[in-house]
Structures are given as C-alpha cells and as structure tokens.
Point group: C2
C-alpha cells in the first residue's frame, strides 16, 4: 500500500460522516480510483476489462471487497479484512449474487453510486439491472460524496504528486537529448516516455502533443512519423505515474527557431498562469481562475473548444473540479489543480501551456517547475 | 487512421446486417475501442474521464459522431463526415440533449448498447437515465453484436497485432541487459518498459509480473523495490501497443539458477501451450482449449482462481472469448487468442506462461515467439 492504513481509515470515516448527512446506508464503488481511494489496492490489471470489481463502504464499520479471486492475494495485503471472492469470469453469475447477498447482509437499503459528471459505472449494464432487481430497489446517486472527498488531497497524497511532478520536471529538462530537426515526432514520443521512466516514473499512461509551424492543430492526437522541421513548435504533455498518482503538465519547445510572434504567444501563456496564481487562494472559485486566464488568452471570450482551462489532478489524469465559467467550486487547502491556458495563433493553430499547483492555507504553490516565459530553442 | 476507410466501412456493413437480424435501429457506443472500431479515432486522451464520447451506428447510412468539441479536429481526419460537437464539460447538458436529438432525427426506436460480460457504459449513469427519459424508451442490449464483430480480426488487424508481438519478442530477448541478482524489481519494470519503447512500442499500457524463490504469489501486483535474489523466478507480462493494438504475453527467467523442479514446472507450461495449439483449429471451442491446458497444469481440476487460461486480444489487452469451461465459442479464422496456463508450485506460489496465437483456416499460428521449454538463466 502507498500509505499507512490510518490514511485509508480516515477516508472511510470522512465518507461515513457525509453518508449520514445524505441518508445513505452504503456506497457501492466499481472503478479503479474509487476502490484504491479506500483500500490502497494498486494494480495495472484494471487495463483488462474482463472482470468487475466491487467495494461496499457501509454507513458503519469497515469496507467490504467483493472481487474476483485473481485479486484476493493482492487485496489481502491491504488493510481490508472482509474480502469476498468469486472465480471471474463467471458466465452464470459474475459476482452479482455475491454482491447482492453482501448488501442484504449489512442491511443497506439506500445505496449510492457515483453518478455525476466525470464518473461511470464499471460493470456490465445488464448486470446492474439484475442487481437492482435482486435488491428490489433502484440504486441512487452518491450525493457527490466521492467528488467531495477526492477533490481535497491529504499531505501524503500531495507528497506523492510532488514526486510525480519532479520526475516530469527532470524529463522535460532532457528533451534537448531527443528532439531536433529531422527527428520523427513518433520517435520523440517514444524517447520522451523512456526519459520519464529513466527519471523514475512507474509508468507513463498519458502522452499527447503535437508539432507544427508556429503551433499545432490540437493536443489529443497521437504522434505521426512526420519529422520535426525548422520553425516547428513541439509540445509534449505527459501524465506519468508515481505510486499511483499522476502529474499532468506540458512544455513547448522551438525547433531551430521561433518567430517573435510565436514567442509572444508563449509569453501570454505564462501571463495567464501567473494571473491565475495571483488569485488561487482558499475561498476563490474554479470559475474565477478560468476568467483570470481567459481574459489574457482570449480577451474574455468566456470559453473555447477545449471546454476548460484546467482541472483537478490526482489518482486520475483529470479530476474535479473543472476551470470553467459554470464551476463554482470554492477552492480549499489540499486541492491540486492544473492551470492549462490555450491560445489561438492563427491558421487554426494553438499553443497550450500547463502547470500543476496545490492550494494551501498561505496561497498556491507550484508543483511543476513553471515553464520559462520564452520557449527553449532546440 | 490506422487502416483505409474501406476497412471501417466494411465493419459498419457487417454491423448493419447483424442489426437487421436483431431488429435494432441503432447502436449507441461510448467506449474507446467501440468508437475506434468503426471510425479509426485513435488517441490516448481517453485517459481523462472528464468527457463522454458517443457514436451512433444507424441501421442504414454512416455512423454519426456526437463528441466533445476538443475532439473535432482529430475526428475530422477520419472517414466520418457527420460530426456533431458540444463544448464539454457542460454542467447543464453534457451532450445528452444533442445525442437525444440526433437519435430522434434518424428515427431510431430500438437502440442497443453493449451490455454483456466485459462491457461497460462510459458515461455518467445519471445522464444515461436522463437520456432514456428524453427518448421515452428503455435502451436495450446490442444482442452481442460488438462481441461477435470484434472477436474476429481482419487481415489488417492481424498484421498490426503481429507487429506488436514482434516488438515484445525483441524486448524479451534483451531482458538479460536489465535483470540480475541485486536489481530491484521496480527498476526491472521501469527498464523493461524502456526496452519495449526502444524496440518500437508506441506505449506500454500494461506491465505486470513478479519475482520470488521458485515462483511468485500472483500476476497482477505492482513491482516492489525488493532486489532480485539467486533462485528467484522473474516473470514479466506486457501489454504493449503498436498502432492501437495490443500484444499480451509473458516470459519467465531464472535469476542465477533454477531448481530442476522449477524447470520441470516451466516445461509443463510449454506442454500445456502445445496441447492447446494441437487442437486450436476452426471449429474447436474455447472450452476445449481450456481443458487441453487444464489437464496438464492441474490434472483436470476444471478451474482455478485465475478464472481462465487465456482470452481474446486486440484493441484491448483482453477481449472475448475466455478460455474457460463455460465458454462454448466456436473458434473461427481470424480470432486472436492468448494461451495462458498457470501452474501451482507449492507454498502458494505459481508459474504462469502466455503466448499469442491466431486461428487460420489451416490451423493455429504463433504470433509470439514461443517461450523456450527451459527458462533462460540470467
């Protein structure tokens, strides 16, 4: 486990206070970060969609894991003692009978699952219908409990995210070793992931980026084999993982040279980040951070196709809140955020910057080493 | 796009034949492999859970993408011409209104979503309830159409999976460069991922493994910092990706030395794979492959905590079918499978082998280079 058992037990305690406030007898959880949040169960085996996994957090007492037997040994290393297993995949009953029996045993009537934005239910929807039939009741929402819990990180979590950011800082400082005129973008992508691993990443779930003359078309495309050209801006955006926690930030590099207009656009990204940092304090809202950046990168247009200018970060590459006009989340100490302004540079091209920060009682602190105002020329 | 447009158009044609047989007016798809199967839309951006993505495959005509505007540029490079976007995340209506309107526009009444084993619905369940309310109808299952389609690979898909397997073959052949007595397992994991990238992987979504005296406790745990010891068996199991397709196989290595009992257990894994290969032909069943291996590794116990002894493989690390007694799937030409026998070696320890194969008209063919009968000693 990444943290001592007390870390997970305190999380359960906080959840149970919220459950009492919302009249919930149990939370039913199905996704990787939800299970790991309460148990510490860390494995890359979730990459296989074959088997469902369940955790019940009751209103009182400890969580109960209802999981495939292939996971029993690893879950047995966690602080969870009530572990119930079946041999998945089971074509007759893939854990649903065992799950319903467990829920009935603890007498839970009102059951909540995370059902809001940025959530999904990781189990076959036909099995979910069977479960509701067995329980004789509709399973409702979790009243935003998982969102509220996970949005505020503990000191221990912030320490791990800080380490992930430091790995990426070091990898970005070595991009000059792998990128120059003539190198295919796909090779830059492969070698950058090797740099991340070499600097201490456990793995590199996310890498996106782009390269083009003075900017790039989008920030989600996979790499092509097109070689870097003089005048390209190369952007690399990584979500690497250390001990189960992500960093998520990017860096822009000028290949050979950059026009003054391109460097000026890049400086505006720094201006936007600094404007958000200046107001990123306990009590400010996610929307206010959006507007601080939006005023600089669009003149206050109020939105763009990216949909937001930053987001939460932690066990997932992106988490709540979103930095957008409708998000009135009040920032609290322990929130870890990305500031991710993007700017249009003409011809359908953009530049995007991104930093990782943590909100503390005294103000905001960078977790990523802020990008230089002017792009490094490679 | 990985393939020419005709590849995707033929898939749509096959889906529409099956939809007619099942009385479905449309398929509604929400997950990465489902969207990519029909569109070629390839991005690592799915790592972010923030935004839902939708594809409608109508009974007649071309698919319609209903997606966040951040994906419009990339989807615009595919063969899909009807792309409808909204600026996600939208806290008032995160694409549900646009999706319902599109479904109404094409006049679809009976709508199917993949709802069976190994599937999930990638959207907030609260939004799914809203969608059903807007449509005034319950959305049903897809009659197994996606499973039937994806389980049989095209020549083009098999060629890409073959390349992914070749990358892993080359990486496994270099493990002697990174693993010996005294090296922490976590360092072996990091460096093995670097070898995979160096040999041509686009990324390495999956790496599991273990190390211990004569065997390991499970095959899903993350690496610890424990150094390799004389007499350890080191197992590495990778799912690396080339052009959006996985390989999935493992290799065992003896650190310093291995007892004759350990080598004999490893030889039984080869025996089991060969027994399955001998009967892996068009017309055999998934269950028969299971029993051929199970007779050798357990003497015919009929099951184990792993739940199965292999599975399908393709755009996901694991796909249908499962090699287990209840799976009566009849093997057809074009199916790509893993053969994954495990054997208990006492003291709660196991050894697990894994190969990747393709079923052809003439019989089965290895895509991975089969493991040597005796473990290499590092």
């Amino acid at each position: 486990m990444t943290f001592p058992a007390t870390e997970y037990q305190e999380r359960v305690g906080r959840a149970q206070v919220m459950m009492a406030q919302s009249g919930l007898d149990a939370l039913l959880l199905t996704t990787e970060p939800e299970l790991r949040y309460f148990t510490g169960f860390l494995t890359r085996f979730w990459e296989s969609p074959a088997r469902p996994w369940f955790l019940i957090v009751p209103a009182h007492g400890n969580p109960i894991a209802v999981i495939p037997s292939i996971g029993a040994a690893l879950m047995g290393q966690s602080w969870i003692s009530d572990i119930r297993t079946w041999r998945a995949p089971d074509y007759v009953d893939d854990g649903i009978g065992l799950l319903a029996e467990t829920i009935r045993e603890i007498g839970a009537k009102t059951i909540g699952i995370p059902d809001g934005i940025e959530t999904h239910l990781r189990m076959p929807i036909a099995d979910f219908r069977v479960l509701q039939g067995l329980l004789g009741s509709k399973i409702g929402g979790d009243a935003g409990i998982m969102r509220r819990l996970r949005m505020v990180k503990s000191e221990a979590e912030i320490a791990v995210i800080t380490r992930a950011c430091a790995v990426a800082n070091r990898a970005f400082a070595r991009v000059h070793e792998i990128a120059w005129v003539g190198v295919p973008l796909s090779e830059v992508f492969r070698k950058f992931q090797m740099l991340c691993l070499d600097e201490g990443a456990d793995w590199v779930p996310y890498l996106a980026g782009g390269a083009g003359q003075g900017g790039y078309g989008d920030v989600i495309s996979p790499a092509t084999d097109t070689p870097l050209k003089e005048g390209d801006v190369l952007m690399l955006d990584t979500g690497l993982v250390v001990d189960g926690y992500f960093c998520d930030f990017d860096r822009n590099f000028a290949i050979g040279s950059a026009s003054e207009a391109t460097q000026a656009a890049h400086e505006k990204l720094s201006d936007a980040v600094e404007a958000a940092m200046a107001i990123a304090k306990v009590g400010a809202t996610a929307a206010e951070l959006f507007h601080a950046m939006d005023r600089i990168v669009t003149g206050g247009a109020g939105g763009s196709d990216a949909g937001r200018l930053g987001h939460g970060l932690g066990m997932q590459l992106t988490e709540w809140p979103s930095l957008l006009p409708a998000d009135q989340t009040v920032l609290g100490a322990g929130m870890v955020l990305t500031l991710e302004p993007g700017i249009e540079v003409g011809g359908g091209l953009i530049l995007v910057g991104e930093e990782n920060i943590v909100i503390e009682e005294a103000g905001a602190r960078y977790l990523s080493k802020p990008a230089p105002r002017r792009m490094p020329v490679l």
